[in-house]
Amino acid sequence: MKGSPPPLRTQMKLLLLEDDEATRTQAVRQLTAAGHVVEACGTGTDAIFLATQGDYGVLILDRMVPGLDGLSVLKALRAAGIRTPALLLTAMDGIDDRVEGLEAGADDYLVKPFAAAELIARVNALSRRPPMSDTAVTATIGDLTIDRVKRTVTRAGQRIELQAQEFKLLDYLIQHSGEVVTRTMLLENVWSFHFDPQTNVIESHMSRLRAKIDRGFGKELIQTVRGAGYRIDG
């Protein structure tokens, strides 16, 4: 599996609001390369017009654009009943800024500057909201099954004991199976850390999880995606 390109996901139509032309062009290029169709605009009014006309998978809104800003656009769209998943891009990462963004109806929040892999991973994660597997009691990936109520994991019929945080980590990977999840996504969603730890928190837990669910079985389910994060594949 290593070295092969990630499986191309179903093509998605994205709306991008970004006033800086260089950033916009670059983002469009990166998202297009990831297999999506992107419609980009530079003002809030255009964004509202496009979002109400077209059928988009994910809205990517820069928070600070002159005139009608991303936050106002999002509030207006949510007030108009448009529930398309939205990712806010922002240069402000204060605690209150994030809370304010989420309260305005954003589904995720990405602080600038960011790596292309981070943007793509988060867009992909949003496009599946709310996935069926999130709510199901059991989920299966390859020959591995987790039971979210009993908190048990079995692989090839063999029971595997996991620590609470290892289970949470595996569950999050499975919810986004086939997609890349980045380190920051894991920190925010598994550990609720909104700061940069100075130690290898993720690597330490990931190596233990891998040792338990992948070692001794034929196929490695968890892949390291270089320069991006991790992915679980069946």
Partner: protein, 463 residues
Amino acid sequence: MADARPASQSTFRSGAFRFALVFAGVFAIAAFLILGMVRHQVGRYAHEAMAGTLETETATLVAEDRGALAAEIARRMTAAPDGTFHYLLLDATGRPLVGTVPVSAARVGWSQVVMQEHPPTPTDPERPERLVTLGTRLADGSLLVVATDGYDVDKLGGHMIRFTILWAIAITLIALIGGWMAGRIFLTRLGAANAAIERIVAGRTEQRLPMIGLAPELDDLARNINRMLDRIDGLMEGLRQVSTDVAHDLRTPLTRLRQMLEAAREAPGRDETDAGIEVALAQADQLLATFRAILRLAQIEGGGRRTPFAPIDLGELLRTLIETYEPVAIDADHALGATLIADATVNGDAELLAQLFANLIENAIIHTPSGTRVSIGVERAPGEISVVVSDNGPGVPANERERITRRFYQVDPSRSSGSSGLGLSIANAIVTLHGARLSIGDAGPGLRIAVSFQEWNGGAPDR
């Protein structure tokens, strides 16, 4: 600022003068009311006294035998020609028998009449006299009129009015002067405070307001303004610090990044170029992490947050953090142990408290050699909850302990191992934000960092 001064220098537009005017006005009204009341009461008393004497005199005469009445009246008139009373006696047909009161006053009951007493002389100029008369019908039909001079009562009334006006004016003047002086004292004190503010505006931001005095409320005002100034000073200091940090700590890695990119451009082969770019990207990420840490530190120190504090169970929070850091510690060949207690609740921000303890735990893991044991404990003293993170590593010399919460401080620069040097600064800022106390001590051997919070007592969740 410039237009605030001339107004306070004009005496008549000054607050002291206005204060005095209001003061005097209120006093004048009060004085007029009191004096007017006195005058009215005294006048009424004098009038009643006069009426009383008339009634007594009438009663004495009525008691006389009717036949001897005229003679008695005549006797009284001759005994005291300038006496208090004037008389008139008319028979049943209305013919005057004796007396000096004009016949026009011949009426039963109370009445008034003006009488010319004497013909005018050079020493005693003509003076019309106002007489108050009391007429009484006798048993045989004749009419007895007794009159007295109302002059004294009138004179008393006049005196009283003059007295009232004079004293009201005097009291008003006294009030005006008193009010002006009181206002003057008050405004001089305020002037000192204003002068201090002028100096602060002019840039001497270390200046503080003097106590105003006169009233505890005014001192509270001065104290609160001083506290506000301290706060603003702190924020300004934070801003200056961020600028310094950005200049100092981002310039060096930025220079390094630039050199790496130049080297990558000049690299001979494609692989070398790619490798160079990889290193440069890692360097850029490191830079961004430092930048984020600086901004976060500034944000926490600024304290400008809207998320309210809530009761947090420290035992619960630390248990999760220990689960998180146990594998990290083992991978770094450290041991992590904990002694937690139940119901250790403090008022705080869960996200920031998690970062605080994560920073302390990471600090202990990063800055100690392999084989070190890191212990996390929660201790309870009356009304106080302390979280203690200690290790049995080499520790920090006593004279350097105070410095380890400073920005970018490294005890041993060779052991920095990729940390931003801001971890303990951020921890310290979070501690301050929570009104808690950070103490750095000796674990003998090793470093002991304790954070002492006020225990949450079930009151209002927000500070």
